[in-house]
């Protein structure tokens, strides 16, 4: 009762990174609240899955294992979570802001009439005072997220409704094993008691999943392009530079929307968050929804024709100029100086 729950996603038989990141954050929140951390896994062939969960400091793992539960479909997973939450009454429930968590989360929150905050970038425990109702609340979950295209940062609370639900994108929280020797319990749910036959109304008839080829999340250097790059052809310059200096290519949302780069390269509020040692921002104006995803880079070089581009505020080096001029020069002088 009154514990912190994390919904663990399964990806090719493994617990997803984002779920383990949330377990690490969940452990921290549970410590602050002096309560337990529990995890729910729903899927098929889950034998031994707790070994990927308990070391993050999980006290209880709930497992629903049934061949109809993988791949993910909305209704059976919703039914299990809703009933389990009604029985266990968690105070906080966290999910990944993925195509699974963002499908399941709102459904669960609607069924339980509990508030859900999407894509949180920070979660902390704090008190809240409702001045109008003259009520004080202790130890609520502050759900902090950018809104309005990232131009504001809002702190959201759910004073009355439980669980307080939040989703968080992959790569935003850090994942850290607490102890390989951590002792947690495992409980297998009797799936039949949690799902109804009509929950299986949607069936998956085909699936083509590919391992992500792009790995910008763990790249040490990122050459990133924005709308200002101007064309898909100009983007090739960024690939050339990345190739030469051993970097990955990233992109802003505007560049992805314009078709210059694939979605999996998107950095920022609606893409991935990165922390490379060097971030080279090419033709990126630097709206907060982008900088939110890269401002923890150790060093930032901003290349932009606009000397007043907002990106310059987070830059260590500002180069005012055209990509087509600057990037080839960088390639040239990198090669000359490394000979």
């Amino acid at each position: 009762m009154n514990n912190v729950f994390v919904y663990c996603e399964i990806e090719e038989g493994k617990v997803a990174d984002v779920s383990q990141e949330l377990l690490t954050k969940g452990r921290k929140l549970a410590d602050d609240l002096k309560c337990q951390l529990e995890a729910v896994v729903i899927g098929s062939n889950l034998k031994g899955v707790e070994k990927q969960i308990i070391p993050y400091g999980v006290d209880m793992v709930w497992i629903a294992d049934d061949k109809r539960l993988y791949p993910f479909t909305t209704l059976p997973h919703t039914s299990i979570i809703v009933k389990l939450f009604q029985e266990q009454k968690p105070q906080i429930a966290l999910m990944g802001a993925t195509s699974i968590g963002r499908d399941l989360g709102p459904r669960v929150s609607s069924a339980l009439h509990s508030g859900l905050t999407a894509d949180c970038t920070s979660l902390v425990i704090g008190d809240h005072e409702d001045k109008k109702a003259k009520k004080e609340y202790k130890d609520l979950l502050y759900q902090i997220r950018p809104a309005f295209g990232g131009n504001i940062v809002a702190t959201i609370v759910n004073p009355e409704c439980r669980p307080q639900m939040a989703t968080v994108r992959e790569g935003v929280m850090k994942k850290e094993i607490l102890s390989d020797a951590y002792k947690g319990k495992v409980k297998n749910l009797e799936v039949e008691k949690y799902v109804k036959p009509e929950d299986f109304v949607v069936t998956v008839i085909e699936r083509h999943m590919e391992k992500s080829k792009v790995n910008i999340k763990n790249a040490g250097i990122i050459v990133s392009g924005g709308y200002g790059v101007g064309s898909k052809e100009n983007f090739n310059l960024l690939y050339e530079l990345a190739d030469v200096i051993g970097a990955e290519v990233g992109a802003s949302r505007a560049a992805v929307d314009a078709g210059y780069a694939e979605h999996e390269r998107q950095i920022g509020q609606t893409g991935v968050t990165v922390r490379p040692k060097l971030y080279i921002a090419c033709g990126i104006s630097g709206q907060i929804q982008h900088t939110a995803g890269m401002e923890e880079s150790s060093m930032v070089i901003a290349i932009n024709t606009d000397p007043n581009a907002p990106i310059n505020a987070v830059a260590d080096y500002i180069i005012t100029g055209d990509i087509a001029t600057v990037v080839p020069k960088m390639i040239k002088y990198y090669k000359e100086n490394t000979k």
Partner: protein
């Protein structure tokens, strides 16, 4: 499948993608008034999917539903220009302050008013909040299954819909029985442009709250052409529980809002010259940042 009844959920949003210089005030906060109000981009993708079903299946009716202030009727007109059959604006002060759950509740009550609906199609998320919650929450309130992240509604045969979904790491084809809520990604085809014929037909279409200060001949025009009348519902026109609406129906509360102010920090300014680029590369190599 003939005679489908489709509802498209759409939202008028500030164009947060084009936050230009005049959209930021001198103190670094957002100047909302400078942002254009637009048809939420993914809702246009949703509308296109609905219109393709209408092209494919005879007798299909596409109805737009939006919630917002009077001026949100603009996006109903925009939908009519592109081929929707009709639309409703849900507008009332009672809805003010709604979070996603209270919004979903109000929308679901309006949809119940429309009788039998086979498919509800919405954009995956709106660019002013990026929550992706309203579609699934409306579905839950209506007891309807959902298919999110749709890239293409492949077809509807024997009351079963087949949908191709675009996920982070691949594609999935799913099928399910109607009625169904489907939310559509930006990776779906763009919406068709306005059709000149429909622009002519509907350019005078107005919702009640837009008719407050118009000339008499305009009212006469509307009386003669009922299709110019954009349906507008207030809280009294739909069946709702008051405590589920607006602020009181919203479990989430905004504790605080912080405008993001760009902070200046010391940076080295370089020219795009050979000398500066040479210097930069030498520095980066010397401090082991690259190489």
């Amino acid at each position: 499948m003939k005679g489908l009844k489709i509802v498209v959920l759409a939202k008028q949003v500030p164009d947060t993608r084009n936050v230009g210089k005049d959209a930021m005030k001198a103190d670094g906060t957002v100047n909302r008034a400078a942002l254009e109000a637009i048809f939420n981009p993914e809702d246009l993708n949703a509308l296109e999917q609905a219109l393709r079903l209408k092209d494919k299946y005879e007798g299909t009716e596409v109805t737009l539903l939006t919630m917002g202030p009077g001026r949100a009727a603009e996006i109903i007109r925009e939908g009519l220009y592109r081929g929707a059959d009709n639309g409703y604006l849900l507008s009332d002060r009672a809805f003010a302050g709604s979070d996603t759950l209270a919004t979903s509740y109000a929308l679901s009550c309006a949809i119940k008013q429309m009788g039998k609906v086979d498919v509800i199609i919405a954009g995956r998320q709106a660019i002013d909040g990026d929550t992706a919650q309203v579609g699934p929450q409306v579905a839950e309130k209506l007891g309807m299954p959902q298919i999110t992240y749709a890239e293409e509604i492949v077809g509807i045969e024997k009351a079963k819909v087949t949908v191709k979904r675009r996920l982070e790491r691949g594609v999935e084809v799913v099928e399910g029985a109607l009625p169904m809520m489907i939310t559509v990604n930006a990776s779906a085809p763009d919406c068709r442009p306005r059709n000149a014929k429909f622009v002519m037909k509907y350019k005078h279409a107005r919702a009640v709250s837009e008719m407050q200060n118009v000339a008499e001949d305009y009212i006469a025009l509307h009386n003669n052409r009922p299709y110019l009348h954009i349906g507008e519902w207030s809280v009294n026109d739909i069946e709702t529980k008051e405590e589920e609406l607006g602020l009181s129906g919203s479990p989430t509360k905004v504790k605080s809002i912080e405008n993001v102010v760009f902070q200046a920090k010391e940076a080295k300014v370089l020219e795009p010259t050979d000398a500066d680029m040479d210097e930069l590369m030498k520095e980066l190599i010397a401090n082991h940042t690259i190489g």
